[in-house]
Amino acid sequence: MFDSVLDVEKQLSAQDYICDQKISTVVFLAEKLEKPVLVEGPAGVGKTELAKVVAAATGRRMIRLQCYEGLDEAKALYEWEYSKQLLYTQILKEKFSEAMAGSTTLSEAAERVGKEDSVFFSEQFIVPRPLLSAITSEDATLLLIDEVDKSDPEFEAFLLEVLSDFQVTIPELGTISSRTKPLVFLTSNNAREMSDALKRRCLHLYIDFPSQELEQRILETKVPGVEQRLAADLVEMMAKLRRLDLKKVPSISETLDWARALLALNAKELDAEFVGQTLNVILKYEGDVRKAQGELSQLLEKKAAKAHATAESVTEVPEAKAVKKGALH
């Protein structure tokens, strides 16, 4: 349970997730109002990660439902375990004969079987899928419905019903309501516009690329070995890249990958060589790489010139200090 918006921010950062106030406000409200959160934004800004850390921070068990085209109720909610039912019938064959031993007519036999059919349609033979397990779970859960935009519109309509009152009706068993209301996160890459009805039921959170300052904090938290200057350079470079008209804009996860790659290569600072070698870590299209290369080499030259200038001034300063020290002694 969170006490305040600030508390959310603190608890999430304890889980190594650095977020801005917008995200923490929505997370706080989601828990207070018991409303699902629809998280949208470009790929790789940490939508799924957010759900994971919220689960960890609140001590909820995370149940994940990955959506894809053709996902249906049987795979999302529950399914009768047909083969198990079949197996049991075969094992229990003799018992059936016993049960029907006295019956003389076909209809009488059918009636007796009918009395026993609840044996086969009980919770024992149900395979709970993510939605049902989130609803029936004893302990508090966090349900992550990932990439909901990939699912079909029909599934979305079905989801509405579940999200509105967290109960499911199974014809053979009756209505099952949730014991503890799960916290629900839906993520979407905007491949398809979600229906207004679904949106209305959710809190909306749009996560965009972070500000430079925030991204640097993220970088320093997630990749501890990275030096501050390198991190600042990286982040600045990424911000420049995002402004280019690229086919696939690099996101935070790519920044992290890049930082790790540079760390592995023992790079102390960004220079043209390292950048050239590792550009394919952040850019996934040949055309993008070519476009970025021109832009980046310019930037690096400028940076090198500047670094040179500051390096000179830096070497001057210690001398001055040394003189001062000498004078003091």
Binding site: F28, R200, L203, H204
Partner: protein, 473 residues
């Protein structure tokens, strides 16, 4: 507060953000849970509960800033300015006020005798002033403001409603009375100046408020206006900025058509029974076919051959058509594109590379294959195509020609198009000129018309999208 949030909701709705009642209730619930001291949290809470589309967030931010902030600050600025004038004269405002109060006491009166407005102005009680301005503005019907020309009218009405002039006169009388009572002339001058400053500040404040109101009320209007007109604006008259915006609109339209396509495809899914898959899927059912799997029927996707006139007169139309078609690449099996003015050049290769917009710009520039600085000659181009590229057309190919058919009195060689028409599945001609102009002057559209299956006017995005829509489906 409640009232203000409801008002804000109304403004959001007017701007095209759909906020339902349930969402407003959510917003109230959310605010119950939060302290609204922090502006950022307050904004984020409203945003999360009321705005559900990523692209609407920017609008929300703008409106939020307009609505929830600024007016008080701007009012304060105005009044500080008035106070600053005093400092220049070497008079301290607090000191002056104290002296006024003292003198009034000697004259058996006090500041409290002044009217509310005059007192608020003199003492700089901005909270009170803000409330009075709001009330007066509402009473004068400022929420009905529609355009910029009305700002003056509504400001004046609000001024009158508030009685600012009356309050100023009151203050002026006060100054005169103080002078008579023997106040230091320098100070009286300072006071007079202050009074004028305050009156001006109040006037500016009111005008400011009216302008803000106008911006709020009309925010949506301008936005919507821009979007709609872009759809219907002729390609001929696009400014550079609009061209950029248009690119986004085209992209969005293409995305929409893609969505529709995927749904229609899915409906077409059922073909023959897929025995193989069915057996595999039903193994867990003991081989009894509970679930049937059908083969997907493949809908023939059209092959497209595009002939684009890239002479300067139609370049813009070509640009957006190419963008549209290439955004929908996967709806076609194959796209071959040619550009021509007089010569004809194959630019299909240009589009192999990822970036569409760059390829288009290159293609419009002739793609390094043809010279674009000549005069249009459709006959020559078609003949060239007939000689060298006729083999790319088969009975599944749709030929899409884009041009105004202004042939500069050259030989139209319509028989080339006839042969193309005979070989292809469809010939579609998009002409940016309206049908009434076809065949007049140097237009040879009428000569080509018999050999096209569809020939349509295409001068704005709306027409373009409806044509492409029909083409793919």
């Amino acid at each position: 507060m409640q009232q203000k949030i409801l008002e804000f909701t109304n403004i959001l709705r007017k701007s095209g953000i759909r906020v339902s009642t349930a969402e407003t209730i959510d917003a109230f619930k959310a605010l119950d849970e939060l302290s609204i001291e922090d502006r950022g949290v307050f904004r984020d809470a409203l945003c999360a509960t009321m705005v559900k589309r990523g692209e609407e967030v920017a609008t929300f931010q703008q409106l939020f800033d307009l609505f929830w902030s600024g007016f008080y600050d701007s009012l304060r600025e105005q009044f500080e300015e008035a106070g600053a004038g005093l400092a220049e004269m070497g008079v301290d405002l607090d000191e002056l006020l104290k002296q006024i109060a003292e003198m009034l006491q000697d004259m058996d009166g006090e500041v409290g005798d002044l009217s509310d407005l005059a007192r608020a102005m003199l003492l700089g009680d901005l909270n009170q002033l803000e409330q009075m301005i709001r009330a007066a503005a509402e009473a004068s019907g400022v929420q009905n403001i529609e355009n910029f020309l009305q700002v003056g009218f509504f400001s004046r009405r609000t001024l009158e409603q508030m009685g600012v002039e009356g309050a100023s006169d009151e203050l002026r009388d006060l100054a005169a009375a103080l002078e008579e009572a023997g106040m230091d002339p320098d100070q009286v001058a300072a006071l007079r100046r202050l009074i004028e400053g305050l009156t001006e500040a109040a006037r500016k404040g009111i005008r400011n408020y009216t302008e803000r109101e106008l911006q709020q009320q009309n925010h949506d209007y301008m936005e919507k206006f821009r979007r709609e007109t872009l759809l219907e604006k002729s390609f001929y008259h696009l400014s550079e900025d609009e061209t950029r915006k248009m690119r986004e609109v085209v992209e969005r339209l293409a995305q929409r058509i893609k969505n529709i396509l995927s749904i229609r495809r899915r409906r077409l899914k059922r073909g023959k029974l897929d025995l193989h898959q069915t057996l595999r899927r039903n193994m867990s059912h003991g081989g009894i076919p509970f679930e049937l799997i059908f083969k997907q029927r493949k809908k023939d996707r059209p092959k497209l051959v595009i002939l684009c006139d890239v002479s300067s007169s139609v370049a813009n139309v070509s640009r957006f058509m190419l963008q549209f078609v290439y955004s929908l690449q996967d709806a076609f099996t194959k796209i071959r594109s040619y550009v021509f003015v007089a010569e004809l050049g194959d630019v299909t290769e240009l589009f192999r590379e990822g970036d569409i917009s760059q390829s288009i710009e290159k293609a419009l520039d002739g793609g390094g294959v043809i010279n674009v600085y000549t005069r249009s000659n459709f006959g020559y181009a078609f003949h060239h195509f007939w000689q060298n590229h006729l083999s790319v057309i088969d009975n599944k190919t749709t030929v899409l020609i884009l041009g105004d058919a202004r042939n500069n009195y050259n030989d139209p060689r319509a028989w080339c198009l006839r042969d193309i028409h005979n070989k292809a599945k469809n010939v579609v001609w998009l002409n940016p000129e309206s049908p009434s102009a076809w065949g007049f002057g140097d237009s040879v559209m009428n000569r080509y018309l018999p050999y096209t299956d569809v020939a349509e006017e295409c001068r704005n995005l709306k027409q373009l999208s409806s044509i492409i829509d029909r083409l793919v489906l």
